[in-house]
């Protein structure tokens, strides 16, 4: 899945500025995440039209990059996230960051790992359900 990563300073108005740019381009945000940081951070966004979002943000002079992240669909029952992560952990993978959101009752787990190729292989082998 495509995700946008936008460099942001910890300064009042920075986030609103980004959101307004996306609003004006009629882009809908599906999920987004930023950890609390001291001086700067990375605002990560999943949206309905990442290619368009990338170009409008870039045109506004923002420092943005587009990358592939993993997105796994979870069944609507307890322990599902633990099951997914345990499969990866057993395979020797560590998680760089993770967040999740809900789409039509299903949980979506978004993450990046230390080893992209190995993660792909494990997902395929274990038959984990990727979000399209």
């Amino acid at each position: 899945m495509k995700q946008l990563s936008i460099f942001i300073e910890n300064k009042s108005g920075t986030l609103l500025n980004i959101l307004n740019v996306m609003k004006n381009a009629e882009i809908q945000i599906i999920a987004s995440m930023v950890a609390d940081t001291q001086d700067f951070g990375i605002y990560r966004v999943v949206c309905d039209n990442p290619d368009k979002a990338y170009s409008v943000l870039k045109n506004e002079g923002m420092v943005v990059t587009m990358s592939e992240v993993f997105a796994i669909v979870l069944e609507d029952k307890p322990g599902e996230a633990a099951n997914v992560i345990s499969v990866l952990t057993e395979g020797g993978i560590s998680i760089s960051y993770i967040y999740s959101f809900l789409v039509s009752g299903k949980g979506i787990l978004v993450f990046r790992t230390s080893d992209t190729e190995l993660t792909k292989k494990i997902i395929k082998e274990k038959g984990l359900h990727e979000f399209a």
């Binding site: 990563s5 460099f7 942001i8």
Partner: protein, 437 residues
């Protein structure tokens, strides 16, 4: 040496203006002849058709050519030596900031005269051979170390080469050795006071401190007063520059009303930095110094780039050597931070090595908790999804800047377009230290 006398060298310190003028003329003529040993000067004198007969007063120095720091770099390392190297006994060098470093050579007589100037200054503010002098200044190539060491010894004081830093040890020395005087940069003294407080040491009760010599970094009158009030110790402003010798060139007397520049050693001019014409007393201009008592490397009309003004040419202390105001800034863009000379171009050079960074940056100098510090803000150019990469980028910039400018600034990565862009020449340095007021 009469310990009751307020003067260490009364034969020079109490000269009348007329006598100073006569001595300067004599020494300028000697220096002119001596400089003919330097091809750089010999060529200029010839081109300008100058002879010693042109020099009949100190003001005639205006007929002579200027010397700049660039001239020192261009003739690196020994091009301005006026004596064979075999007669030189010491070399000091400034860091090679924007090109070649500058090299300053000394003969034994130069070192003796340098020590004499520092001793004169310390005597002037009341120090005598029974005092204990702790030199909490960097040693090595920085002239504040050896300069004060030899000067304090020349005066006859017990001298402790404590060097910079390690506050706990400094405080132990002050207490155990009965230190009465310290030379340090002003920001270090405020730091020392903080550590004393943490250790429960009251400088007024637990130490014998009475005199501070402060210099090598710009500081305001307010900062001096604060230091004096913290410790209950008089703090005297010192001016030095390695091109002239080092510390000793100018020093405040007990009146604390400007620094006496020793006119038996230097001809002092204040000029308009643009027209290079002299400005009237009281007006701010660039300090230009001619060393008239140096053997190894006399410099003629050296442009210091420091801005100041003449406060007076007489003084209640009985010394008629010109009094100059504390330095008001620089006529170039050099930054002086914690005794270190830094040019913004050095910082730019490092920042531009990182492809992740944009070309816009801002250097801010500020005072936090009595410590002067530098913050470098730089715009990020390339996006990344890896937060650790940004952190290590920040760390790497800080590390490389530290290697270049010898102190570690705070580095802040900021978004593209968030730094002010001015019309024409960009503002790269904001000084919030307010030291020049």
């Amino acid at each position: 040496m009469d310990v009751k006398s307020p003067y260490l060298h009364p034969e020079y310190e109490t000269l009348s203006r007329e006598e100073i003028s006569k001595l300067q003329t004599e020494r300028l003529r000697e220096t002119f002849e001596h400089c003919k040993n330097v091809p750089f000067y010999a060529k200029k004198f010839k081109e300008m058709n100058l002879s010693v007969e042109d020099i009949n007063s100190p003001e005639d120095v205006r007929k002579l050519p200027f010397t700049t720091k660039q001239d020192l770099r261009d003739t690196y390392p020994f091009g301005l030596a006026a004596v064979p190297l075999s007669e030189c006994v010491r070399l000091h060098s400034s860091s090679g900031t924007t090109g070649n470093p500058t090299v300053i050579l000394h003969t034994q007589r130069d070192l003796d005269e340098w020590a004499n100037q520092v001793a004169r200054n310390l005597w002037m503010v009341g120090l005598r051979p029974d005092d204990v002098f702790q030199n909490s200044s960097g040693y090595g190539m920085f002239t504040g170390g050896l300069g004060f060491q030899y000067g304090a010894e020349r005066l006859g004081m017990l001298t402790v080469p404590a060097a910079a830093g390690n506050s706990l040890r400094q405080i132990k020395f002050i207490k155990d050795f009965g230190t009465t005087a310290i030379h340090a940069i002003p920001s270090y003294l405020t730091r020392l006071y903080e550590v004393m407080q943490e250790q429960g040491v009251d400088p007024r009760k637990d130490t014998k401190l009475k005199v501070f010599a402060i210099g090598a970094e710009p500081h305001s009158e307010e900062q001096r007063k604060r230091i004096e009030n913290m410790f209950g110790v008089k703090a005297y402003n010192s001016f030095g520059m390695s091109e002239m010798c080092g510390p000793g060139v100018g020093f405040e007397c007990k009146e604390q009303n400007g620094l006496h520049f020793w006119e038996d050693y230097y001809i002092v001019e204040i000029v308009d930095p643009d027209t290079l014409e002299p400005v009237p007393d009281g007006e701010i201009g660039e300090l230009v110094l001619t060393s008239i008592r140096r053997e190894a490397m006399p410099l003629i009309r050296y442009r210091t780039r420091d801005l100041t003004r003449v406060l007076g040419r007489t003084c209640p202390c009985g010394r008629n050597h010109v009094r100059l105001d504390r330095m008001k800034g620089r006529s170039d863009d050099m930054i002086v931070l914690r005794g270190v000379n830094i040019f913004p171009i050095q910082i730019e050079k490092i920042l531009m090595k990182f492809p992740e960074l944009g070309s816009n940056y801002l250097i801010t100098l500020s005072t936090e908790d009595n410590n002067d510090q530098m913050t470098v803000e730089v715009e990020v150019n390339e996006g990344t999804d890896d937060f650790a990469k940004l952190q290590s980028l920040e760390k790497e910039i800080r590390h490389q800047l530290g290697d270049e400018i010898l102190l570690k600034p705070i580095v802040r990565l900021v978004s593209k377009g968030s730094l002010p862009v001015s019309e024409g020449k960009a503002v790269r340095v904001v000084d919030k230290r307010k030291v020049y007021q």
